[in-house]
């Protein structure tokens, strides 16, 4: 049934052509395709009434019939809370029709299509949500679009949060809910960036931004207010805590209340946590950003369980922003671990997402994570997952070599950071309500002008906050710049006099300076990082025993322990540097175990299949066994039904 329905507005090109051939204005033969539309819920007379209005509105008449039908159908699906139908319309129908009719123009305005949906205000809000998202992603939003999309978001959240009847009786797919939150923050970010550039604005734009409403629109407080309200209303933090404590379903229902038991609110609450993480990152508050996620954890990307199947984009966004936080906190091992975990997962999940319309976005974010990972490896080289690190080397090998040369690599370092970092924003607008100061900001007086006695302090300037974050990280990069050279020299010795070392280095470097570099190097060889209880134990960390206790005490994402991350260790006895190098022996076991298991599967497969001659069509089962390994190993070897007794004890 659903397949048949979908065909109406989405698929068959010949059907679409029929509709396009219809001469558009006024006299559309009523429902020549009505027999195809077999939805029993739709009443003919209602459609005819709609049809009468169509005749009066040429604007509406110009909308292709297939689009109209889509909207009516979409509306009905939302009214019925029919999740599969909504998902289908949302993920496939909308995008197909966009490609076909609205690749370069707006969708019809909500007011025009209102008669099609009986003026259903809630649906129109949802429709506008899609309408503006399309404008932002495909077209250039003008200032009116920016203000109106803000108003529409407010209406939507107001409806969800301040409904008089308690939780609203609406069901939407998780993907859409995620997109609502994600898009809300994207538009906030986009507005903040637009607002931060007062030059090249028309008088009308300046007037609107300077008005009281202009100052309110997309204000940081209003955005945070929405996200915190969704979190509090859904009691998602309480829910996550209760789950972590292993409470029963009844107890949890009790705790989360009437809103939190509804999937709509619970998911919105959970996505708001991730949204808040992102907003705090954009505003440069890296500690608060991670603190928000304390209860939710970092999910899949940190090898943790997730409370429900969230869209891929949500995981990727979590990992990217959390990783940026750790990077700015100079906790490079944590950053690298989050990036690696997520990239590994994206790599494996890639085959399932090739057709998703979010695929591009996910890939772009993943590319940025590879770039940031290259920075992590430069600042604190650690052993990482082979698959991921191979991609990093493939893409950034050359740049990493350049960054490894110290100061001369600074340009490369900054270039990669600027490409891969989020577009940071400032919380407050330039003074649009004060035209004089604004004019000064756009056209700063020339410093040499004799009229201004203190030219430097009197000139207001607004710089991109990204530069501020870049400076902080670049300073660290520069502080570490002597380390690679020192490392390569120290590796050659077991003990070395500091004066002699100074002699090896460039002229003009005295012993005192070398000693300060050595202290910098010492600091760079340690790092605060989260220790995962289980994984920490087999990480070969010498001090893992002492840290195991600490990890259970606090689950905060900001928690951490000192750990040594350098394989080259040294200590200075007055003037003599003693060096000790740790080496990691080659690991054979993993390879051996994987291949033994693979061989076992092939063997089982061969034994289970009929002899060659007897059935010519028999396939070789071993083929593709690598990918499907997990499923085949569960089913294949159990033939004997025999279980080794002690295998459970281990």
């Amino acid at each position: 049934m659903s397949a048949q329905r979908m065909a109406l507005w989405a698929a068959e090109p010949d059907l679409d052509d029929d509709i396009n051939d219809v001469d558009i204005p006024l006299t559309i033969p009523p429902y020549q395709n009505a027999d195809l539309y077999d939805d029993p819920n739709l009443d003919e007379s209602a459609l005819l009434a709609v049809q009468a209005q169509i005749a009066q509105q040429t604007a509406l008449a110009q909308i292709p019939d297939v689009v109209k039908r889509f909207i009516v159908h979409f509306h009905q699906a939302v009214l019925d809370n029919n999740l599969p139908e909504i998902t289908l319309a949302y993920e496939s129908g909308w995008n197909r029709l966009t490609e076909k009719f609205y690749a370069r123009t707006e969708w019809p305005e909500a007011e025009i299509i209102a008669p099609l949906v009986n003026d259903d205000q809630i649906f129109l809000i949802l429709y506008r949500e899609l309408y503006y998202r399309h404008v932002y992603s495909r077209l250039q939003p003008d200032i009116d679009d920016r203000f109106h999309s803000y108003e529409n978001s407010c209406e939507l959240f107001n409806y969800l949060l301040n409904s008089e009847v308690g939780p609203v009786p609406l069901s939407l797919p998780a993907q859409w809910l995620w997109d609502i939150i994600d898009e809300f923050i994207y538009q906030f970010q986009s507005f903040a960036l637009y607002r931060s550039r007062p030059a090249n604005k028309t008088d009308e734009e300046l007037a609107m931004l300077g008005s009281e409403g202009g100052a309110q629109a997309w204000s940081s407080y209003s955005v945070l207010n929405v996200l915190y309200s969704l979190i509090q209303k859904s009691r998602v933090n309480e829910w996550l805590k209760a789950r972590a404590e292993g409470k029963s379903d009844e107890e949890i229902d009790e705790i989360v209340g009437e809103y939190g038991t509804k999937p709509l609110y619970r998911q919105l609450g959970y996505f708001s946590l991730i949204g808040l993480l992102r907003v705090h990152v954009l505003l440069g508050d890296f500690t608060l950003a991670l603190k928000v996620m304390d209860n939710a954890g970092l999910g899949l990307c940190a090898g943790e369980k997730v409370p429900f199947t969230a869209p891929t984009a949500a995981h990727v966004s979590t990992a990217y922003h959390a990783g940026v936080c750790y990077l700015m906190l100079r906790r490079f091992t944590d950053a690298a671990r989050v990036f690696t975990g997520c990239l590994n997962w994206v790599m494996r999940a890639r085959q399932y997402h090739t057709r998703s319309y979010q695929y591009d976005q996910i890939n772009k974010t993943a590319d940025r994570m590879y770039a940031l990972l290259a920075l992590c490896q430069t600042l604190a080289p650690t052993r990482l997952d082979d698959n991921v690190i191979n991609v990093v080397r493939e893409r950034y090998g050359e740049q990493m070599t350049r960054m490894g040369r110290g100061e001369e690599g600074l340009g490369t370092f900054e270039e990669i950071f600027l490409y891969a970092c989020p577009k940071f924003i400032t919380a407050n607008p330039p003074p649009y309500n004060d035209p004089n100061t604004l004019a000064l900001l756009i056209n700063p007086p020339t410093p040499s002008s004799p009229s201004s006695p203190t030219p430097t302090s009197g000139t207001p300037t607004i710089t991109d906050p990204t530069q501020r974050h870049l400076r902080a990280l670049s300073a660290h990069f520069l502080a570490l710049s002597p380390v690679p050279t020192l490392r390569s020299l120290l590796k050659l010795y077991t003990s070395l006099d500091a004066r002699k070392l100074a002699g090896f280095l460039d002229t003009g470097v005295d012993e005192e300076e070398v000693l300060s570099w050595m202290m910098v190097m010492k600091n760079a060889g340690r790092c605060v990082g989260r220790v995962r209880g289980a994984a920490g134990a087999d990480k070969d960390e010498k001090n893992s025993a002492s840290t195991a206790n600490g990890s259970s005490a606090g689950s905060s994402l900001l928690d951490g322990e000192w750990m040594s991350i350098s394989d080259l260790n040294f200590v200075i006895d007055e003037n003599m540097i003693h060096i000790a190098e740790s080496t990691v022996g080659r690991r054979y076991a993993g390879w051996f175990i994987r291949n033994s298991e693979h061989a076992a599967r092939v063997f089982d497969g061969l034994r289970a299949s009929p002899l060659p001659g007897s059935l010519p069509g028999a396939k070789t089962q071993g083929k593709g066994g690598e990918a499907k390994g997990d499923t085949s190993k569960d089913t294949a070897p159990r033939t004997s039904g025999q279980k080794v007794a002690w295998s459970k004890v281990v």
Partner: protein
């Protein structure tokens, strides 16, 4: 056992009132800024330090530019300097949105002048260039910072010496007395007392200071071998048993 960051996350000296502000949504309420500012001045007078509470002040300033008080910001940055090698100083400056310089000539904003100086101090600490730090610290350029702010900040120099002590402790087993003196800007009996307070021992005859061993200044070459656990072999062994 407490983790390396627990005192930073929730200092033992933090009161419940502050804890609620730092962890709750009340941190966004502009009317609470005075509570947090009072707490900062308490830190300044008592030598305590609470980074997250101070970040909450900067957050309020970020959202409400009318609350902005440059003296508070300078004090927060001074406190953050002493947290090195933790990145507190950068976390604070990350929240300092560029603001329009106060046009009022009677009340000039001191921050635009002081911020580059503070950043310079921070970079010297971060690069472990302690003698250069002290030279710059005593220079005329810093007179206004010293006399207007640092003088109020109890234990500031002592806290900077702790930064140096942390770096030295990790890197050295023995260090020359005079060299150590330049790192902590002390000499003679003062230096000897300071060394004693650290629990380090001074050998007067060789003029060297011995630093007790700690996890960072003990080194040994380790060869890390892989460690196969029985559980990893479970499938292989189980399969072998079944095939029989």
């Amino acid at each position: 056992m407490t983790s390396a960051t627990s005192e930073w996350l929730t200092p033992s000296t933090r009161t419940e009132l502050i804890e609620n502000l730092v962890s709750g949504v009340d941190r966004y309420n502009p009317s609470n800024v005075s509570i947090l500012e009072d707490y900062l001045y308490h830190q300044i007078r008592s030598g305590e330090y609470d980074c997250l509470a101070n970040l909450a002040i900067l957050k309020l300033y970020q959202f409400n530019s009318d609350l902005y008080n440059p003296d508070v910001v300078v004090n927060i940055l001074l406190k953050a300097l002493t947290a090195e090698p933790f990145p507190d100083y950068n976390l604070c400056t990350s929240l300092l949105d560029d603001r329009l310089v106060n046009m009022n000539p009677d009340e000039p904003d001191p921050l635009p002048v002081l911020l580059p100086i503070l950043t310079n101090l921070y970079n010297l600490l971060h690069q472990c260039r302690f003698p250069a730090f002290w030279t710059f610290y005593h220079s005329d350029e810093l007179e206004s910072l010293r006399e207007n702010y640092i003088v109020e900040c109890v234990g500031f120099e002592e806290a900077i010496r702790e930064v140096a002590a942390r770096a030295v402790k990790a890197t050295f087993t023995r260090i020359g007395l005079d060299r150590l003196g330049t790192y902590v800007d002390l000499s003679g009996p003062e230096l000897e007392m300071w060394i004693e307070k650290q629990g380090w021992s001074l050998d007067i005859s060789t003029r060297t200071v011995s630093i007790p061993s700690n996890p960072d200044n003990e080194i040994e070459s380790v060869v890390i071998r892989e460690n196969v656990k029985l559980a990893q072999l479970q499938k292989v062994i189980a399969h072998a048993a079944q095939v029989k």
